[in-house]
């Protein structure tokens, strides 16, 4: 699997599957504001050969649109890394993603945006793509300040990109189960004067292709990352994998973690909350049990979200 530090050294090219103008424009805005010579959107697979109009700064540009995933209208050099941004619906996400990697076996990874990807399809993607960096399903993407914005992560307007300093690199990594909370954590870190090393949302599904464990290994191996801010939710047992990682000595950096979902104790039986995974089927998968497990493993864990904000605000500024 490609490492975050390798992505920073590469010329990253994105193939977008599906049409979502504001997301695509936001990636070009990010590239432009990062001072890149050209945008990272290489082509958009719309089902029709032609061109789509976008802006590069104030200048209008034409981005090639394609009838299918291959062939691509450009050749990849040794410094290029190819990425897929899959914006298709849940039912089509698996087949289209598999087809992409079949046609472009050297591609580095993908972000899968759709909700409602069947569990069976997620299992299939996990089996087939374990050497690729694939965030999602139901992920808003992967962000490496100044280098790569693969998805709506961080916002879709130039104001959001500027206000959140998304083009300036720092030392905080944000790893989150929720798209909205990823952006909220970015907002908190920025308000406290920090900048990001990278941010990603693995999504709130039961079987994220890039698991929280994989994401923590990425953060451990990234020399720029000093601190991880983690947002998780009740349901599933991903946090116990993090506990194992820590106890095996495979993760050593500072973490501030929040696991949401204690409100479920107000209900006689855990209800299904917003995300597919967000339901405690057993006492082990409640928010409280997971907080305790993470805490005993040596992670810094907040008792409330207000406390999480306080813990972040007490961090020494590693930026600049």
């Amino acid at each position: 699997m490609i490492k975050i530090s390798e992505i920073r050294k590469s010329d990253n090219k994105i193939v977008v599957l599906g049409n979502h103008e504001s997301i695509i424009q936001s990636i070009l805005d990010f590239d432009y504001l990062s001072g890149k010579k050209e945008g990272s959107i290489s082509s958009i697979v719309t089902g029709r050969r032609g061109f789509a109009k976008y802006f590069w700064g104030r200048k209008e540009i034409l981005v090639p649109t394609l009838a299918s995933l291959s062939p691509l209208p450009f050749s990849l050099g040794p410094d290029h890394k190819l990425w897929l941004l899959n914006l298709l619906s849940g039912r089509r996400t698996n087949s289209a993603t598999q087809e992409f990697f079949l046609n472009h076996p050297a591609a580095a990874g993908a972000a899968l945006f759709a909700e409602n990807v069947p569990e069976l399809h997620a299992q299939d993607l996990i089996k087939q793509l374990d050497s690729k960096l694939v965030v999602g399903p139901s992920s808003i993407g992967l962000l490496i300040p100044g280098y790569l914005k693969l998805g709506p992560i961080g916002g879709i307007t130039p104001d959001q990109i500027n206000d959140s300093h998304l083009t300036e690199a720092g030392s905080i990594a944000i790893l989150s189960a929720s798209g909205g909370m990823t952006n909220e954590l970015i907002n908190i870190a920025m308000t406290c004067g920090h900048r990001l090393s990278f941010a990603l949302s693995f999504g709130g599904d039961r079987f994220p292709i890039l698991s929280p464990r994989d994401a923590f290994i990425q953060a451990e191996q990234d020399p720029k990352t000093k601190i991880v801010l983690y947002y998780g939710e009740l349901g599933g047992d991903d946090e116990y994998e993090l506990v194992k990682l820590k106890s095996e000595g495979l993760f050593t950096k500072q973490v501030i973690a929040h696991v949401a979902g204690t409100v479920s104790s107000l209900f006689p039986e855990s209800p299904q909350f917003g995300h597919a995974k967000a339901k405690a089927d057993s006492s082990k998968s409640t928010a409280l049990a997971k907080r305790d497990a993470l805490r005993s493993a040596g992670f810094q864990v907040s008792n409330s979200f207000s406390e999480f904000i306080t813990l972040v605000s007490k961090l020494k500024s590693h930026y600049g």
Binding site: A177, N183, N187, Y231, A276
Partner: protein, 372 residues
């Protein structure tokens, strides 16, 4: 979506063929006549169960065995009084309780987690140490060659059979609990037990839009009403209400996300306001309109829908001492917040209003101050 329960009737109808068995069960309600049951089964001994996805039915007295068709109405009349509405009738399968085994299959990241015990039956929880992942060879072959491919093709994520009994070549699941992956399965899922009118209305709304609109009524007399956006932020905000010891005042949980149209948000808000205004509590109330910093949901657009619904009810809201507390960030944040602030001020509904620069959970502390 998520894992959802289906009825035992649907489960057995779907899966008995994989076991090479005929399913002879009948789904009944209080309206089913004795003659209908007798026609289906003849004069055999029957077992009747509540079939609404509830666990430990045996222990809760929601299973009765060795009934004749004529004895069934009296039994389900008792259950109906407790609020149950759907039942399953099957012929009694004579067997020795020592031949009852336990088998469950749970879909996990890398395949299936399979649990088996030779000592199944109602006391499985106290026999939990007998659970093993090792299966008899014949059973393992059946699972790998027939059952698991069937579960995959039907997008079943969880199957628990307690007990199963073996007779000759056959494996017979006497009881089945199934959860399907609602993102893909075409098996019909069980509704939550007894949805309220507002919950039903929002569920219908949710079914008719690609966006996500969720609502659970917790306490209709509660004083804190929430109109939240985003799966994660809504959970964090609901947690904060409980963390500040306001759990007993929490009226609802819910969230809208996935870039709903302003008409969707209008209809959603209106249902919640109608429910709020039915509240018998004469004390002041708070509406929390909040969410994280959105990635791509347009704040101004969704706020327009909310404002339209609020303005239709603004007089009644005033007379019930309702104040609105807002925190939201994202695309078109400033325009959305300005619109909302102007409206709330004009209608005398403003509690407080913030954008991204104020921490997500601050509104909850302000609500606490207002209510106490």
């Amino acid at each position: 979506m998520s894992r959802q329960k289906i009825s035992e009737f649907s489960a057995k109808t779907a899966l008995y063929p994989a076991f090479n068995l005929d399913f002879r069960g009948l789904a009944i309600t209080q309206d089913t006549s004795v003659s209908e049951i007798a026609k289906h089964f003849g004069d055999t001994n029957l077992v009747v169960k509540v079939d609404q996805g509830i666990k430990k039915r045996g222990k809760l007295g929601l299973v009765k065995i060795n009934l004749k068709p004529s004895e069934i109405p009296a039994t389900i009349a008792v259950w109906a009084k407790q609020g149950w509405s759907n039942f399953l009738v099957e012929p009694v399968y004579e067997h020795d309780s020592s031949s009852e085994h336990y088998l469950s299959l749970i879909r996990v990241r890398t395949g299936w987690q399979i649990n088996y015990s030779r000592s199944g039956g109602v006391d499985i929880e106290s026999n939990w140490e007998s659970i093993t992942t090792k299966l008899p060879t014949k059973l393992e072959t059946f699972l790998n060659n027939i059952l698991i491919p069937e579960l995959d093709s039907r997008h079943i994520s969880f199957l628990e059979m307690n007990p199963i009994v073996e007779r000759g070549d056959k494996i017979i699941p006497l009881d089945m609990a199934v959860e399907v992956d609602s993102a893909a399965s075409d098996l019909s899922i069980l509704p939550d037990r007894m949805l309220t009118k507002s919950e039903k209305e929002i569920a219908i709304l949710d079914n008719h839009t690609p966006a996500s609109l969720k609502f659970k009524l917790i306490n209709p007399a509660g004083r804190i009403w929430m109109l939240l956006s985003g799966g994660g932020a809504s959970l964090v905000l609901a947690d904060e209400v409980a963390d500040l010891d306001l759990g007993s005042e929490l009226a609802n949980y819910g969230e809208y996300s996935g870039a709903p149209s302003d008409d969707d948000v209008y209809a959603y808000t209106k249902i919640i306001l109608t429910q709020l205004l039915e509240s018998s509590s004469s004390k002041s109330k708070a509406i929390i309109i909040a969410g994280g910093v959105a990635n791509f949901t347009d704040v101004a657009k969704t706020f327009k829908g909310i404002i339209r619904a609020l303005s239709e009810k603004s007089q009644e809201l005033n007379s019930q001492n309702v104040k609105v507390f807002v925190r939201r960030g994202g695309p078109n944040e400033e325009r959305g917040l300005t619109l909302m602030q102007k409206f709330l001020n004009e209608k005398n509904l403003l509690g407080s209003i913030y954008g991204r620069s104020t921490p997500l959970t601050v509104v909850v502390s302000q609500v606490k101050e207002y209510l106490t």
